[in-house]
Symmetry: C2
Subunit: 456 residues, 2 copies
């Protein structure tokens, strides 16, 4: 290891920033099973996917051979408004924990969307524009993904219609104002602008909506509108591909200082951030060049990998998407109320699922009260107020560092800090007031979720 | 000028970061008049000030001879959690404005307090700890300063009591949760914990409080508590001193690329951020080394410099502080409702006031609807959602760049982007909905304010 002094924050220069995304699939000995058309039970064709998604994204989705895929110069330029993100040596956290371990984190929260989501929003908006589309649609729950896409669409001059789950639309009025400031048209879902929305409204007039319904409305609108496509913020392979800038920047910075991680930790909701963080390190592991301990962290309330099944399932609860082979709790699984909204997803990226299934990584499920306790400690010594999602990784990184204190091991720990918690203060409030609860699904809860799995 | 390609973002390395603050007063041919004790009409002694403020801060307050004051290593270490801040070349804004001007901005918003306030909070908390104090007190309105100080006190292990104006306490419950997460004790002001608070509560039982009352409560608590002092976030000379890291980092980065600004623009509320931004450039101007056009921007609703008087006045509306010689609208001036809370202050830093009075800078007052229109344009092309306060500088920087488009001049424009607008979305909402109004005080409003000036 180099004796070069490691600074608190490492920023790459523009020249050092990655010019290609890393296609992790091209390094995997086995590919995940293909998406299936639920109507025919046969693999989805590119044509079928292109009716919904941008052509270039579909190409990337199906590409499992090219190890590197060029990042167009226009996207790299947009990246320069919020990248490089800092790789931080957590000296103060190490000191607080009295650990011999070295802790690093890649911080993706220093942009107005507040998270890593902008990495893929930038790419997908660019491809939509390049294809000659005039608008795109999407859904958003808590609003981070909608904000990221609104920023990207403003930058490239695309119209955007966001279907926002009605409860969030009403409870988080300010999130919507951010999107509107960037020019997005934000609609509470269910709305009367789509057949799917009208159907739900007539059946359940007072409903607060759901992500499944918002997806259905966004897809329907995209398919029925001229020069329009639908854009998704996680789970799919091309989204994971765009997120590999996270891992690549981390690796380039660490390599400059001769540092090799022993453990790489990330929170895993849909899996795109986790997949993007581990990509370059996992690519080396798949080539036998390292033996890094990869840990995906999920909430105990929604344990897709640790307690889910590896099976074909719908990506959404409305059962309108293609079927993906993944770890899932069943698209009908109802996650109990948990503040880490971005991790409340029944499934997991097919790429990450396959890596887990084949034994290249492990998983930990953690309870939210212990996650917030870790978040608070982190905030007080490292300054940043972390997002609840990101704090899942903080909790496990701290556990690993504490183990090192006990064993004396000088492990190098890298974790992903995906975002800030500025819009999650209701959750911090319940933690500060001691009213936060932990939820762990019972075997019966899981059985009900598994019963919703499609029969093939 | 160098032909070196200028990147989108310039980050200094740790070695390049300033090791001293710049004491602008030591470069000024004339000093501002001293603070006066309102009871005696005589200049405040160090002893009088030390009963309220930390000893080292009082020394800095009264130091007008040392050009540089060392930043202790402990503070420089804390700075590394959120500094260096990026100096950004606004290529996308230039392109949008089709201007031949070069536009740069120094962005101070990438920390959890959301603004530059942390630069002085870090220093003041450190000095309090070093002096052996166990706690400090302060007041906060919108909450940015309180958050910054809470972060600094958490870092150094100091107790903090924040008196938060009751209307903000109730209307912005989440701001308070950030401070609590960092361990601060946040009290709605007026409170029943002080004589000042109890007096107001008995006279006006339903009052929503005021900054003046919160200051009175914080000072009273500091003076009556053992090992405790009061901490202020703007206006005073030592606060401006701490903020000079902004200007120094900017100048070091520009110098590396051989770039010399022609115009330097900042918003001015209490004046510490503006003074800190211009400090190293102004020091050179005072030595005859440049002829930079310095522009302080204030809201038309609270035009302390452009329409105020240069006179002795209280720093607070409760008339408990020393008297400062400054531009002021009168401590009894009631700023009309304006969303840029941080700029709603009746007075102006004595250092900035003196520079303005002596003709070294100019001032522009702008209306908030034009400020938000500029903010929206900026957000859409540069990505960052700016704070309303900072957007005052954006508006004037854009005006200057548009003038260059008309004249063909290739001016170099530098402005300060002090913070993010994530907690100002009610203001963006009223702008988005077209209900935002402009307020300009009438001559009668001003006369009422001037009538509150103390008679000496």
């Amino acid at each position: 290891m180099s004796a070069k002094k490691i600074p608190y924050k490492m920023y790459l220069s523009e020249e050092e920033m990655p010019k290609t995304w890393l296609n992790l699939k091209a390094f995997m000995p086995d590919q995940h099973d293909p998406f299936l058309n639920p109507a025919t039970g046969k693999p989805c064709t590119a044509e079928e996917l292109e009716a919904v998604f941008c052509t270039e994204c579909v190409e990337q989705e199906l590409n499992s051979t090219d190890r590197e895929i060029e990042i167009p110069a226009d996207i790299r330029n947009f990246y320069k408004t919020f990248r490089p993100s800092p790789l931080v040596r957590a000296y103060f956290l190490e000191e607080m924990l009295k650990t011999p371990a070295q802790i690093y984190y890649k911080f993706e929260g220093n942009n107005t969307s507040g998270s890593h989501k902008l990495n893929s929003a930038a790419a997908q908006a660019y491809y939509a524009k390049k294809q000659g589309l005039t608008s795109v649609t999407t859904e958003t729950g808590a609003g981070q993904w909608g904000t990221a896409l609104a920023m990207a669409c403003a930058f490239y001059g695309l119209d955007l219609k966001v279907f926002m789950v009605k409860t969030s639309y009403e409870q988080k009025p300010y999130r919507k104002e951010v999107m509107k400031t960037y020019g997005a048209d934000v609609v509470a879902s269910p709305s009367d602008t789509t057949e799917a929305g009208r159907k739900i409204l007539s059946e359940f007039p007072g409903t607060g909506g759901s992500l499944g319904c918002a997806i259905a409305e966004a897809v329907e609108t995209a398919v029925k509108t001229q020069n329009c496509r639908y854009v998704l913020g996680s789970v799919l392979d091309h989204v994971l591909l765009h997120q590999t800038v996270i891992g690549q920047e981390s690796k380039i910075a660490l390599d400059k200082y001769g540092v090799q991680p022993d453990v790489v930790i990330g929170c895993a909701g849909g899996g795109s951030n986790f997949g993007g963080l581990i990509a370059p390190f996992m690519a080396e592991k798949l080539q036998g060049k390292n033996n890094i301990d990869f840990i995906g962290v999920e909430p105990a309330s929604c344990p897709s990998m640790s307690r889910g099944k590896y099976a074909y399932d719908f990506c959404d609860s409305a059962k309108i998407t293609p079927l993906a082979k993944m770890y899932t709790l069943g698209c009908g699984f109802m996650p109990s109320p948990d503040h880490a909204g971005g991790l409340r997803y029944h499934g997991m990226s097919p790429v990450v699922s396959k890596l887990y299934h084949d034994g290249y990584m492990r998983v930990r499920a953690v309870k939210q009260t212990e996650v917030f306790a870790a978040a608070e400690k982190f905030a007080r010594c490292e300054g940043i107020l972390p997002a609840p999602e990101s704090s899942h990784a903080i909790k496990v990184a701290m556990d690993e560092a504490i183990k090192c204190r006990e064993t004396g091991e000088k492990k190098v720990i890298l974790f992903g800090l995906t975002g800030t918690g500025y819009f999650d203060l209701a959750a911090y409030k319940s933690f500060n007031e001691g009213t936060m609860k932990d939820y762990i699904p019972t075997e019966e809860d899981l059985a009900r979720g598994f019963a919703s799995l499609p029969r093939l």
